[in-house]
């Protein structure tokens, strides 16, 4: 034989050591194994034991090494020396930086704590940063939820005590029909991919509802290329078909939802539209055993969906009747909605029939006993194996809250929430709105705020308004403009602060949010607001402090930069008090820890807050003798006590007799070590008989209390009818003492309906749909994370620029050819960008990848980087305010209920344009504070 082959060592040493921590390139927070060689990061892979990702890792996660080594990393604290926006800085010491920050902030706290606005982007330490802001005493704190997906979160919490992503997930192991609405990537991105893989393996069916057929929607068995903004209508048409055919889970609706709760039906009553309650305030149902009134949660009660109740001349009907009145109407018939949705009526009917068939004819049963909160024993768990998941495609519209509510309603009438094969909550969810705090906003100079900033209002009485009825918060959260803004409105902070509406602030303090670029609307306008000066030549927003780890576009606009470490160099905790990493079958939290030490003068932001908090003497950050309480974030994570027995981490807490236990217990000095030993996370399994029906199951409730999710069991029923919405609506009708301003009455009445409705996206009413006939969207590329990863040497080769994808009809009408450019115009502005053809696209929709466009000078990239010359942002076309209508007033481009930024309402027109030298508009280059990256890379550590 003449074949020879060299001797090959097939068992080379892989690394010196594996350090297990948590990824940070998105909200998924996968477990990672960081392979170390010679003390350096050599390779990153998924952690197989981790509850979130079970070993898999996305492209961003695997490219973490390039993230960590990025030349765009900041090196030391920076003080601005040039004009704002120029990018001219000098490096200063931490002592100087912290003294400066203290000098700026201490006087504010003494006199006007609200003049500090502290907003924290895609912060994964919100329970800590909010604690800091609370100690400072400013009401002006929130993270990024308002511009992200608060509609989904709030609609879910108000309706069923949880939404998707960190709140819940489809029962991937049992579901037979899965419907996905408006998702390109999701917060729960790896689990979704793993879930889709499981469906495929079992040959289960998947339907994708999305104007764009890429990614998940490309592998879906059926694609519904819906017209943007019309999902609510489509979903309610499905509800119509199912109700009309009686293909709803009546038993489930009666027992586990407020479909059976009685509503006051008398338009003349002050209580019109509110629940009939007993003296304890409990909503009433008719007990089918007795035909009499009973509290919803009475022992043994069998609530009736049909029976009405009349007392003192006022009739009360169960919610289900109101639902029948509304949804059986022909307004919701498939034929009535088909044109607007762009889906043939037959197809809507077919999908409704499929849902019904799978939910009821293919129902599954698990032989597990469980007991509900009424003390009724169930000998098995009946599963409705249809499941749903949705994200920003239905959430980021001005009708998103109600659309998300409609979707939850659809799942609930099918009886598929928290039943086998349906959608399951992840502890500490389910947790109804009433179990969450309410927002707090009482400011006392020199003191802490009266409670946590963010929460769930139950009616007008909970709004954050001053005695004049004006908003207390700079972002106008919890005001009449958006009463249920559970996550605040980060996207309004800069424009409100600039306008001095509702008031002027002194210092804008931000963390981890690229607010001058891809997370802002009206990018050019924001640049002007950040650099605008008053008649004295002072900046209108006097001071800006910002913490970033990289040389992002936002850095150029700050006066003081507090450079952060990378995620591999700091402690962090992914806490159950915050947005944990739990799975439906387990409660879990996790940490990050410094697997490498920083090689430069940077500090973990949370540790900096511990220091700054102590310098400012914030309660919770100083000991009784006034000294610094938490040396650093690790110290805080270990020793902070939120409620008795409850701290940031639930794993390895100290029980009696110094035993270690999960859930509740005292602080344990060795806690972080235990986490590290266990791979960076802690996990406790939900007992089998508590794994479904969690909101209603006493087995689950008791276990959740044991785990510290809450202090007493709080079973509840799903709120198909959301009474707090009705309270706002009633106020708009003139009921009650707290009244909305006249200009908002109509909007509140129309939109804050206690039962899900659909109304056209606001932009449709403010912009001429004939002149601007096209919907323009963005999608997240799976291999890139906003600006976060775009300077990453490996990933930017995959997505170095972003064409505008155009459907066949528009492509042909405009006679576009490969390589062409087009001018895209909205009422607010126009951009000139490269186009590409896509046939698998809704015929009235164009789109591009989100946040690939970069500004010259940022991210240590060459000034001719394709991100800056061919890449672009759609954000230039989107304004935070809608164009004025008849009344001359400008309405926020947000959901009127939650304030969620309506990114996807955008309407445009398009025409062919001569190819410019670069994508338009071009923002002037900024000076890079970190120079430019190297010319070649062959990263290999070790020998």
């Amino acid at each position: 034989m003449t074949h020879h082959q060299p001797d090959l060592d097939t068992s080379p040493k892989v690394s010196d050591e594996v350090r297990k921590t948590t990824c940070y390139m998105c909200a998924c927070r996968c477990g990672i194994n960081v392979h170390m060689k010679d003390g350096k990061v050599a390779y990153i892979e998924g952690n197989k034991d981790h509850p979130v990702n079970k070993g898999v890792l996305c492209a961003k996660g695997s490219a973490g090494i390039m993230q960590h080594n990025a030349p765009s990393r900041l090196r030391a604290p920076l003080k601005r020396v040039g004009e704002r926006g120029s990018g001219e800085f000098e490096e200063i010491s931490w002592e100087e930086a912290l003294t400066l920050a203290t000098d700026w902030l201490a006087p504010i706290r003494e006199k006007h704590p609200e003049k500090l606005a502290f907003f924290t982007g895609r912060d994964q330490s919100q329970s800590f940063t909010s604690f800091w802001a609370q100690g400072f005493g400013t009401p002006n704190y929130a993270a990024h939820g308002g511009f992200c997906s608060v509609n989904m979160a709030a609609a879910g919490i108000y309706t069923m005590g949880g939404a998707f992503w960190e709140f819940g997930q489809p029962d991937w192991d049992h579901t037979k029909l899965f419907m996905l609405f408006g998702v390109a990537e999701d917060h729960d991105s790896n689990p979704i991919k793993m879930g889709i893989g499981k469906l495929k393996e079992r040959g289960a069916r998947m339907i994708g509802v999305n104007p764009i057929r890429t990614g998940y929607n490309a592998v879906a068995d059926d694609w519904i290329g819906i017209t943007p903004g019309t999902d609510g209508l489509f979903i309610l048409a499905l509800v119509h078909c199912l109700m009309k055919a009686g293909r709803v889970d009546l038993d489930y609706l009666a027992r586990f939802t407020n479909a059976s709760v009685l509503v006051n039906e008398d338009p003349k009553s002050e209580q019109f539209g509110l629940f009939l309650r007993d003296s304890d305030g409990e909503p009433q149902v008719i007990d089918r055993r007795t035909g009499q009134l009973a509290p919803w949660n009475g022992q043994g009660v069998e609530p009736d969906l049909a029976a009405t109740y009349r007392a003192k001349g006022i009739s009360h009907r169960p919610v289900f009747h109101l639902m029948a009145d509304r949804y059986l109407s022909d307004d919701y018939a498939p034929e009535a909605v088909a044109d607007r949705c762009g889906i043939p009526a037959q197809r809507i009917r077919a999908i409704a029939a499929d849902l019904a068939r799978v939910a009821f004819d293919e129902a599954i049963e698990l032989d597990r006993e469980w007991t509900d909160f009424r003390g009724i024993k169930h000998d098995k768990m009946v599963g409705r194996p249809v499941s749903f998941h949705a994200m920003r495609g239905i959430s980021a519209h001005s009708n998103g809250f109600q659309t998300c509510r409609a979707l939850h309603t659809l799942q609930i009438i099918l009886g598929s929430v928290e039943t086998p094969g349906g959608m399951r909550f992840k502890p500490p969810y389910p947790k109804p709105a009433t179990a969450h705090p309410k927002p707090h906003c009482k400011v006392t100079p020199g003191q802490a705020l009266d409670g946590p900033h963010l929460g769930y209002v139950q009616g007008p009485e909970d709004l954050c308004l001053n005695d004049e009825g004006d908003p207390i918060r700079i972002d106008k959260a919890y005001s009449w403009e958006n009463p249920m803004s559970a996550h605040g409105l980060m996207h309004m902070v800069i424009s409100n602060a600039h306008a001095g509406d509702p008031y002027k602030i002194d210092t804008l303090f931000m963390y981890m949010a690229n607010m001058s670029w891809n997370s802002s609307m009206n990018v050019g306008g924001v640049h002007n607001m950040l650099t605008d000066k008053d008649e004295n030549g002072d900046y209108v927003i006097p001071r800006i402090i910002y913490s970033d780890a990289y040389s992002s576009e936002m850095v150029a606009y700050a006066d003081l930069i507090l450079p952060d470490t990378t995620y591999l160099e700091r402690h962090d905790c992914i806490s159950i008090l915050d947005r944990p990493i739990c799975e439906a079958d387990g409660i879990a939290d996790a940490i990050r820890w410094p697997v490498v030490e920083p090689d430069r003068d940077v500090r973990g932001f949370q540790s900096v807050l511990c220091d700054l908090g102590a310098r400012l003497g914030l309660p919770g950050f100083v000991t009784d003798d006034g000294s610094q309480k938490y040396e650093d974030y690790a110290d805080y994570i270990t020793n902070h006590i939120r409620r008795p027995g409850i701290g940031p981490l639930a794993g390895w807490r100290l029980g009696e007799n110094a035993t270690l236990q999960g859930g509740r217990g005292d602080a344990n000095g060795g806690q972080l070590e235990s986490y590290i030993k266990n791979g960076g996370f802690w996990l406790a399994h939900v007992p089998e008989n508590a794994a479904y029906y969690k909101p209603f199951s006493m087995d689950y409730q008791n276990w959740a209390v044991e785990m510290g999710c809450y202090d007493v069991p709080q079973p509840y029923i799903f709120q198909l009818y959301v009474e707090p919405l009705r309270k706002f609506q009633a106020a708009a009708e003139g009921i009650g003492t707290r009244q909305p301003p006249e200009r908002l009455r109509g909007q509140i009445k129309a939109t804050m309906d206690p039962l899900p409705i659909w109304y056209a996206p606001f932009e449709d009413g403010h912009v001429d749909p004939v002149e601007y006939p096209i919907h323009a969207l963005t999608q997240r590329p799976m291999a890139m994370y906003h600006s976060w990863g775009t300077q990453n040497a490996w990933l930017r080769q995959i997505h170095g620029h972003n064409p505008l994808y155009v459907p066949t009809k528009i492509w042909e009408t405009n006679n576009f050819q490969e390589g062409d450019w087009a001018c895209v115009t909205s009422t607010h502005g126009s951009i000139t960008v490269p186009v590409a053809h896509q046939a698998s696209l809704n015929e009235n929709t164009i789109w591009t990848w989100n946040a690939i466009g970069k500004r010259k000078g940022a991210w240590a990239l060459d000034k001719d980087a394709p991100e800056a010359t061919k890449g672009f942002l759609l954000n230039h076309l989107i304004h935070e305010l809608l164009p004025p209508k008849g009344d001359g007033l400008r309405w926020a481009n947000s959901d009127p209920i939650t304030g969620q930024a309506a990114w996807f309402d955008l309407r445009v027109k398009i025409e062919k344009a001569a190819a410019p030298e670069e994508s338009q508009p071009v923002s002037p280059p900024i000076k890079s504070p970190v120079g430019q990256g190297p010319d070649e890379l062959d990263w290999k550590v070790g020998e």
Binding site: Q797, I798, H799, P866
Partner: protein, 290 residues
């Protein structure tokens, strides 16, 4: 295919050099002494220069000697061996002519055969590639050989032979183009077979794997405009064949002869540029490009 200068220069000049060596070897011209030295020098400069040029595109030219090992399967290896063997034999043959004024016939004939073998093996490097349907055809070695011999004859002042061979070469070239233009389409390899998705419908490349370029795209995807190619073909034919033929038909004159050679070389360089630039590698199908 990327028309890399190194391979264009390599194939053109080594072709000419080995062509000349062939004519020297068969004794079509039997110079001696200094004149032999000059003739052989010209042939060696072309042949060796071309071979050296080819090493410029190697990532590790210092390991080039390893390339002789795989003669059992590799045309590149065979080419290396043939080239070196030919050069050695012809050096002996040349030495005889230069220093002894004697023609050692056996070396001459062996060398001539070696020169043909070298050019043939060179051509087979391309003609063997199923991935480039335009090349995978008998016209590739035929054309390489005829061009090499014709060019060598031209260089060696073998007017009649040059006339005949260049005429044959021009028609071969023409034939190669006509048949080559459709060969990819006829090869059975298309986007449907590349992706296996043809049974669903018409396949179109949507997004490439990277927005930037990569080695494969640089190396294999080179789209020449149709009009541009037609013009170059005419120029190539004119320079490589028509003009030299014209010069040859004119009464012999050293200037004309030199012009004929120059024109021919320029023409062959053009044709070689087209040989690469027009060749479509099937990998382009994955990028939706030819």
């Amino acid at each position: 295919m990327h028309p890399a200068p190194s391979v264009i220069i390599f194939t053109t000049f080594s072709g000419l050099g080995f062509g000349l060596l062939f004519w020297l070897g068969v004794g079509a011209l039997v110079p001696t002494g200094l004149s032999a030295f000059i003739w052989f020098a010209i042939a060696y400069i072309f042949a060796v220069g071309g071979l050296l040029a080819s090493t410029f595109h190697l990532g590790h030219p210092e390991r080039a000697v390893k390339a002789f090992s795989q003669w059992k399967t590799s045309w590149l290896s065979r080419e290396g061996i043939c080239a070196v063997a030919t050069l050695i034999i012809m050096a002996l043959y040349g030495a005889g002519l230069v220093f002894a004024g004697a023609r050692i016939g056996i070396f001459g004939w062996l060398g001539a055969a070696g020169a043909i073998a070298t050019v043939f093996t060179t051509s087979m490097i391309y003609a063997q590639l199923k991935t480039v349907p335009r090349w995978k055809h008998w016209t590739t070695p035929a054309l390489f050989l005829v061009l090499s011999l014709g060019g060598g004859a031209l260089l060696g002042g073998q007017v009649i032979e040059a006339l005949i061979l260049l005429l044959i070469a021009s028609s071969l070239q023409f034939y190669a183009w006509v048949t080559g233009d459709t060969r990819l389409a006829q090869s059975g390899t298309d986007m449907a077979s590349a992706t296996g998705l043809g049974h669903i419908g018409k396949v179109r490349a949507f997004e490439p794997p990277h927005t930037g370029t990569n080695y494969l795209m640089r190396e294999f995807i080179h789209v020449v405009g149709r009009k541009h190619a037609q013009q170059l073909r005419i120029i190539g034919l004119g320079l490589a064949f028509a003009l030299p033929l014209l010069f040859l038909l004119l009464p012999f004159n050293h200037i004309f002869a030199a012009l004929a050679v120059l024109s021919h070389v320029a023409g062959v360089l053009t044709l070689r540029w087209l040989f690469f630039a027009e060749a479509e590698h099937v990998v382009g199908l994955y990028y939706g490009k030819r």
